[in-house]
Symmetry: C2
Subunit: 363 residues, 2 copies
DNA sequence: AAGTATCGTGGGAGCGCTCCCACTCCCGTG
DNA sequence: CACGGGAGTGGGAGCGCTCCCACGATACTT
């Protein structure tokens, strides 16, 4: 059928330059150089004369040339795209703005490097399968993985496919895969130090699920903080929840029962702090007069609480940027293997970003 | 002698140079058919014999064949990718979970259709430029546009490029571009009807910025609701804010001053309601006893407020799904132009999804 | 001076797919 | 019993790019 005309005619609308989109070949012709030279200029390859660079630049500008990504990917076997994987399970677990901030950081950094962001939310096992197919089909150059659970095999599986990976958060202290995390231990310590500074001594904590490293780290920080202040640890002051509001509520009830004399609570997330706050109110404890309260995340929730919640801020967007930078670096090293002199043996890059206490009225 | 050792031997797990992926050609060879036939089977083209279909399916399974997307895109001039554009300006404006929910819906629907999601956050003019380049470079088959401002030229510009577009929300009542919106007028009406049912009669409203259709629509719904209840409209009961908490605070102060006798407030977003709630507390007005409060979005904020906020829920994720479905349909129609189903003359598809009142303690 | 390393360059050879034309069957028809 | 025609098929011709080899020109050796 000739009826396939869509191709030619829909393009003629853009009209401004000659109908079709210009190709490398046309640029080369106009610049009076060969295809190879144009390609080198476009890709910033080293040995090209100034004269050629100039001519090509002019031709590119005149024709409004834009490289065809598909052709590039086919010929160069790379995609200029990076996947950001978010396991939906955790979307509830962390306070919502978290992922948006992370995406923001990743997106910005990727845009700056002229890379595409492929967002993949995997919630079901089926979607996970599908995603692994994706990877196998080499549709991306690398993978960013958001908050992974303690026993998630995905990171290793991806790494085994030979694809560069960087995670947000880690699965354990000795994480073998490259990651960017925030200083969760520091977060716990800072919170406790602050509470101690406010004259509190019966400081309880509501931690996250202990199969998550982030939860263990914050709990560890809490204990370290107590130790540093010379306060005896007391197991009856430690309760475990699941990062949800309801979990925070339950844990707080438990704590009040076990240790009615507590005068402060460090909740490992703002949302859990919100739950705790409700229970405290029901129990007739004033915040901060009777019980001081500190959360983690510095999310909207913290600001909207009554009283506004003191919280440990994580540099989420910055984590997104950092992990992206790390990944791009790994990708670059991988392709130009000879170009990576400093890289030692088997050492995966890891980075831990500092957290910061934001003091409000709840403490 | 097949010197090609297709199977088994190239199992070196060294990682770097992973065993080559099988190509169409190899599948064809194994299935004992031609390339064309395999392509037809893979793409579900019509006239292929059952026998051939079968042989190909078997070969595909055996080799673990996955089509190379880049090659597909190059040869077929389509990308199987869709861009979701979120203008960052509004990220603050709407309550945060909004976009994540939207992304979730889009992502799910796209995954089901085996399409890639390209997320693009444009915050600066520079990023906007870059994005338009992207589009011009035809790296996507279509574009989804999230909450666009009243005077944004982007939708029209994209449409002019000949790319299918579907927006979330609209710029005005007579939106020329295809869109999916929620029933904002209905939201206002429902809120007012509910408040009237609770015996309130001096019902105020805090609306969003009136250059946004969504704000005008909710305000319109509010007025319609009053009219339906036979209540005289009163301009001193209408205040305008900007969808932020601080804006809600300012508007509430203004309202208390202008109309101290008010007994209810319909805020056009939960976040603004939260701001208003603070002011009411400072002013010694109890919620809901003295003043009933209703928001819109049914976000986390609503649940965490004290008392929990009655709010009009929008089906955000469903909007994401719907707009994606619409877009995919447009894309399909565009390529297989003769297939165009019921779609009439020049009419862009539009859909308005219902909202739903979630009653809590604030009213 | 000739020889050798180096730079800058053009262009052939694909990358893996879709498109489409040509071809073979094999049916029904006149 | 030849004939037109549709169903089913194979494979050539690219899509626009990168890779890489070969080549001439320049620069540096000895």
């Amino acid at each position: 059928m000739e009826g396939d005309g869509t191709r030619g005619e829909s393009k003629s609308v853009s009209g401004r330059q000659s109908g079709r989109r210009p190709t490398l070949e046309e640029v080369a012709a106009l610049a009076g150089v060969g295809r190879g030279t144009v390609s080198r200029v476009i890709n910033g390859a080293p040995r090209v004369s100034e004269r050629a660079k100039d001519a090509v630049a002019r031709a590119v500008a005149e024709l409004g040339y834009l490289p065809n990504q598909a052709a590039r990917a086919l010929a160069g076997s790379r995609t200029d795209a990076v996947a950001l994987v978010i396991p939906e399970t955790e979307a509830r677990v962390f306070s919502e703005p978290y992922f948006l901030d992370l995406i923001r950081g990743v997106s910005a950094e990727l845009a700056a490097a002229d890379r595409q962001l492929l967002l993949t939310l995997v919630r079901t096992e089926a979607e996970r399968q599908r995603f692994e197919h994706y990877l196998a089909a080499q549709r991306v150059d690398g993978v960013l993985l958001a908050s992974v659970h303690g026993d998630d095999p995905l990171p290793d599986r991806i790494a085994r496919l030979g694809l560069p990976v960087v995670m947000n958060g880690r699965r354990s202290e000795a994480e073998p895969v490259a990651y960017v995390d925030s200083d969760n231990i520091g977060a716990g310590r800072a919170a406790v130090a602050h509470l101690v500074g406010r004259g509190r001594s019966r400081i309880a904590t509501i931690s996250g699920p202990l199969d998550m490293y982030v939860a263990r780290a914050r709990l560890g920080g809490y204990r370290a903080g107590l130790a540093e202040a010379g306060i005896q640890p007391d197991e009856s002051l430690e309760a475990t929840a699941d990062f949800t509001e309801e979990g925070g509520r339950l844990a707080m009830r438990e704590l009040l029962e076990r240790a009615p004399g507590l005068d402060a609570v460090f909740a490992a997330s703002d949302v859990m702090a919100a739950g705790a706050r409700g229970v405290l109110r029901e129990a007739g404890r004033r915040v901060p007069e009777d019980v001081a309260l500190v959360g983690v995340d510095d999310s909207t929730v913290a600001r909207l609480m009554d009283p506004p919640l003191t919280s440990v801020r994580q540099p989420i967007e910055e984590m997104g940027r950092t992990m992206t930078r790390l990944l791009l670096q790994k990708i670059a090293e991988e392709s130009g293997a000879d170009e990576a002199p400093e890289q030692g043996v088997g050492g995966q890059p890891r980075q831990v970003l500092p957290t910061e206490l934001v003091v409000r009225d709840s403490s």
